[in-house]
Structures are given as structure tokens and as C-alpha cells.
Symmetry: C2
Subunit: 343 residues, 2 copies
């Protein structure tokens, strides 16, 4: 096995005490210049690294943060994790990632697991199935640092970082309207999610602004957050089978947008001729699609970074934090062929 030097080894080698070594290494003023130099040079020479586990045990912090997301192999979340990691790394934390696969049970198990690992705080994006947020409420009340991002718990007053989902949805919907569509459907995620509600509101607001009535029949929710292909296919087919079939659809989630394209292609429905399309996604290759996709992009990397900064600030705060912010960052609308009305 691989051994590394401890403070004790250095102390023994140099014939001083461990406390001297400890102090010398952090340049304490109490240590004589030559001793200090001696110790520091020796430590350097043997490539001494303090044992972070011992430090953690001492100061009762694990220097790790737990992340709860639905899926890593998802463009939005892999980008967000990238942001999380970049901040955590710089501030000396490491990141433990867990996936819910949109299941509430799995989410609960993950949180328990992370707590048993004594993470110093939690970065959470709720699963599509989650309605009961009491475990977070309990922890939050006990003073345990939690930051929600993307899919937040409305009833827990802690730091939150989200995209401006309302505006993102509004913009995309308005774009479809301005392209000339009036019959616009909305395919979206589980109603449990904050993002679903916000995006639906943005969708409705855009319709209202342009005097278009919201038709409940044009709204399709996929309760499993796009994890179940058949559910999406069912919803898409239902839209296509309507008497007053929509001409366009605005899609409220990354996975749904991609899967919807895939289903339409399979069914031989031409985009945008038969059905125009705009949707949320963070995929970087949608301009290579046939047709190129009109999308709402979220600054996932920055969202991950901000959430992590807030979390670590909370963790390291000397005083109980009581003042919580909700950061809202802009989305980006990119128009491509899929949302255009062809002659």
C-alpha cells in the first residue's frame, strides 16, 4: 500500500515535537526562524501532505458537499455539475453526486446516504416525483446548509438559484406566435416541479398577451420527467390525434425536447411543416438536427457555480444564516428552423 509522511515522521526525523512541526508548517510566529526553515524544507523534500481526514475529524467538517440531481447523463445537469465542481474544487471541497432517476424513494435514500457521509451541505434539484419535502425542511430547520437549484422547494426558505423560467417560456412561446402560429400546445414535465409551473405561467402569459386563449387540451404533462419513453410518445400522439390539432408545440424540458423530436421523426411528422417546435434544452448539438432546433438554453454552468458559492458561504458562515436569496439568471433563446412557419 501507499504510505505518506505524517507530522510525526517529520518530528521524529528532525528530533522535534509534533506541535513544533505543526506550527512551523503554518509559519507560526512562535517558532524560531531556523527551526521553521528546517521543518519546511524537510516537509517539502519528503512531499508532505496533511491528512485531510485527520483535519476533518478535528474540525468536524468533511469538506464535501452532496449533490442530488435526477440524472448526470443530461446536458443541463452535466454542465451544472461542471460549474459545481469548478467552485468546489477551488474552495477545497469535494463533491459527491447522487442520481434520483426522478424517483422520490431514491431521492430519500440518496439524502440519507449523503448525510451518513457527513457532507457539510446539500445542493438539491428535486426529482419529478417529489411532493414531500419534509426531510429538507427538517434539516433546514436544524441549521443544515441546503441550496436548491433548478427544481426548487417552494415552501423552504433557503438559498435558491434558478433560471428565469417564466421569461424563457414566455420568449419561446412569443416567438412561435410571432412566427404565425396560434394553435400552440405545451408538452412539459411533472406538475410537481417548480420549473414546470413557472414555464407554464410564462407560456400562458405569452398567449394572453397576444389574445390567444389557453386550451387545457393543449397541455400535456409527463409525470415521469421524460424518463419513460412511452409516456412521452403517448402524449405526443394524443396531441397529433386531436380534432383541433396544434400547429406548434412548446416543450418545457431538456429530455422531453429531444425525445419529442425523436418520436416525431419516427412517426414521420415533419418539423416544422406539420408541427413546429421550440423547447428547453442545453444540448450543444441541436443546430445539427434535422431541422435545427429552436431552443431556450439555461446558463447551467453558472447556475451550478452560483449555487455552490452560496452553499459554501452558508457552510462556512460563523453565524447561523437567516437571510436567504433567490438568484434568477437569464435564459437564452436561440431561433432556428424548427419554429418557423413555412409557406
Amino acid at each position: 500500500m501507499f504510505e505518506s509522511y505524517t507530522i510525526k515522521d517529520i518530528a521524529k526525523a528532525l528530533g522535534v515535537s509534533t506541535s513544533t512541526v505543526s506550527r512551523a508548517l503554518k509559519g507560526s510566529y512562535e517558532i524560531g526562524a531556523e527551526t521553521k526553515k528546517l521543518v519546511q524544507e524537510y516537509a517539502e523534500k519528503v512531499n508532505y501532505r496533511p491528512n485531510p481526514i485527520a483535519l476533518s475529524l478535528k474540525d468536524q467538517k468533511s469538506h464535501s458537499i452532496g449533490v442530488v440531481v435526477c440524472e448526470v447523463a443530461n446536458d443541463y445537469f452535466s454542465q451544472a455539475i461542471n460549474g459545481i465542481e469548478s467552485i468546489a474544487y477551488n474552495l477545497g471541497y469535494h463533491v459527491i453526486i447522487t442520481q434520483t432517476h426522478e424517483s422520490f424513494d431514491r431521492e430519500t435514500v440518496n439524502v440519507q446516504h449523503l448525510l451518513s457521509r457527513h457532507v457539510d451541505g446539500l445542493l438539491v434539484s428535486l426529482s419529478a416525483q417529489t411532493t414531500d419535502t419534509s426531510q429538507y425542511k427538517y434539516l433546514h430547520e436544524k441549521g443544515f446548509p441546503i441550496v436548491f437549484f433548478d427544481r426548487i422547494a417552494a415552501d423552504i426558505n433557503t438559498h435558491r438559484v434558478v433560471a428565469d423560467n417564466f421569461k424563457g417560456a414566455f420568449d419561446a412561446t412569443e416567438l412561435l406566435i410571432k412566427s404565425g402560429f396560434k394553435k400552440i400546445a405545451h408538452l412539459t414535465n411533472s406538475n410537481n416541479l417548480s420549473i414546470t409551473v413557472e414555464r407554464l405561467n410564462g407560456f400562458k402569459a405569452a398567449l394572453a398577451k397576444h389574445g390567444i386563449e389557453f386550451k387545457p387540451g393543449y397541455l400535456k404533462n409527463c409525470e415521469h420527467g421524460g424518463m419513460i419513453y412511452d409516456e412521452i410518445e403517448f402524449a405526443v400522439k394524443a396531441l397529433l390525434a386531436m380534432d383541433d390539432r396544434p400547429e406548434a408545440v412548446f416543450i418545457g424540458s431538456d429530455r422531453l425536447t429531444i425525445n419529442c423530436m425523436s418520436i416525431l421523426k419516427k412517426l414521420g411528422v415533419k418539423v416544422p411543416d406539420d408541427l413546429a417546435l421550440a423547447g428547453f434544452t442545453n444540448s450543444e448539438v441541436v443546430d445539427l438536427f434535422d431541422p435545427p432546433l429552436t431552443v431556450v438554453r439555461q446558463p447551467a454552468f453558472q447556475i451550478g457555480q452560483k449555487a455552490t458559492e452560496l452553499l459554501i458561504k452558508t457552510i462556512e458562515s460563523k453565524w447561523p444564516v437567516e437571510d436567504f436569496t433567490t438568484e434568477r439568471v437569464d435564459t437564452l433563446l436561440i431561433e432556428r428552423l424548427s419554429s418557423q412557419k413555412l409557406k
Copy 2:
């Protein structure tokens, strides 16, 4: 802050000693049935969780493994990490991910960082820039567990998990040949990488089998592993500008395949009419591309799993491991429009 119960709290509350609690909790036979029950019920009640940091300090293991990859926001690696995490999670390890962004310096820093965190072992996929593997050699010789996956170090005899890159390349190239192409270029990664060499060999073997001469001019390396867009664009343009311009190109990396498509589209080069294309990628949406892409997929998830299993087995081995395996898993060739010869 958030406090949790320790063995000491339980001992005090129950008026027994800490060792009794410790033993009772692991159901030791030395403890009387009623004491055991008492302790276990109390621990359950207060939701006791052993402090993993204390355990780590005791048995000199951090129960964490370090991962070195070039990029997380890459389909192949995010899928591999998924596999890594799934195994690590089940075996009680957590995973610290670092990214090299294809830089050797960054890789060195990352390895140092991971070692300073006292990870129990390393899962490594080399950066495109790396030629000097001495840091790994040094660690390996000291008995430190390392498993290479995907981009391996040829000169270090440790566990390795790779796709059958030779065959994957061979199959894709042969497919192009069978489609009727003879002038086939190869756009690929840095020559430093094991995968580059293996895929090139597969490419050459397929040409040879069908009596086609290998033209060095048709081989383009992107030394930065596709991180620099201009480099790829330069290579693609060079191929297109050749007197004896290739009719098809086989691409040896995920990022290059996607970027090449993007460049061809920008240049107005029609695929497969003007240039047919087949390449390695693990993107799940390439069937939505225009045109749908012919690809070689790697079982990234399984590769991640296997590598992690081997690593943890090595870590937990009671004896120094001397017998190392190289696991080679099959790739999957999926034919779509991009590789077909149109009339």
C-alpha cells in the same frame, strides 16, 4: 450547525461504555442480548450514523477514489462516470472527479490534488497532451492502485479497461469501403493517445484487407483532442482542399465527430453527397442529425463499471496485486445515412 449523535452520546445516555455501544452496534457475540437490543434500538431512535471520517482515520483509508478524465461534459465520459459512480456507490466509495481539459500540466496538478486528498486509488484516462507517465509509474511501483481506462499508458503494467478500438475502427472503415468508397481519410486525435494508435491500426487493416493503399496525406491528427475548434477546422479544410480529395472520412473521436459535422455544415459541404462520414461517438442524438450519423459506440457505462470494480478489488486486496488484466469490450457499429454512397 448540524450535529449528529456519536457513540459517546449513546454510551452516556444508556450508562454503558463506548466500546459496548460499538460492539453492540455490530452485533458482536460478546454482548448480552438485552444490552444489544437496548443499544440498537436507541441508535435507531436517534438515527445514529457512524462518522465515516473517524472510520477512515482509523483504518487509513479514505473510501474515495480519484478520477482523471479530460472533460465531464462529453457523452463518452459522462456515461463512463455514471458507471463508475454506480459501482463506487454500492461498494461504499465516493468519487472525486477531475478534468484535465487535455492538458498535461492540469493532469499533473489533478493527480497531486487527488493524492493530497488521500484517495485510495485512481481511475485514469490520459489527456491528449500526456507523453510523460512517470508520475503514474512511480505510484504504481509503490503499490498505489491505478486502473487506466480508454486512454491507457502502454508502458505501465496495471489493470486496463478499453473498448476494442481496433475492431471498432476496422468495422467502420470496412463499412465505408463496402458502401463503395475508396478514397477514405482519417481524422483523429493526438498521436500520444493509445486509442488513436489502435484506431489508426484498425483503419489501416481494413484498407489493407480490401487492397486499398493507405495515403499518409489522408491522415489528419488534431493534437489538442478536439478542444481547439480552429485546429479541427484547419484539418477538415485541408482534406477538402486536396487535389485527390477524399470521398469519405472516418473519425476517431467523439468530439471530433460532432465538430466535424458542425464544420462541414458551416462550409456547406453536403454529407454524405460531398463527403461521407463515420465516426466514434457516444452521443445519443446522432440519429436526429441531418443526415443521421453512422457511428461506432463504446459501452462507456460498462467500461466505467469494470474499471471501478477492478480498482476497488485492487484497493481492498490483502496482498499486493501483481496480476493485471486488460479488459477489452466490444464496440457497436450503427449504420445510418452519413456513410452511404448516394447515386
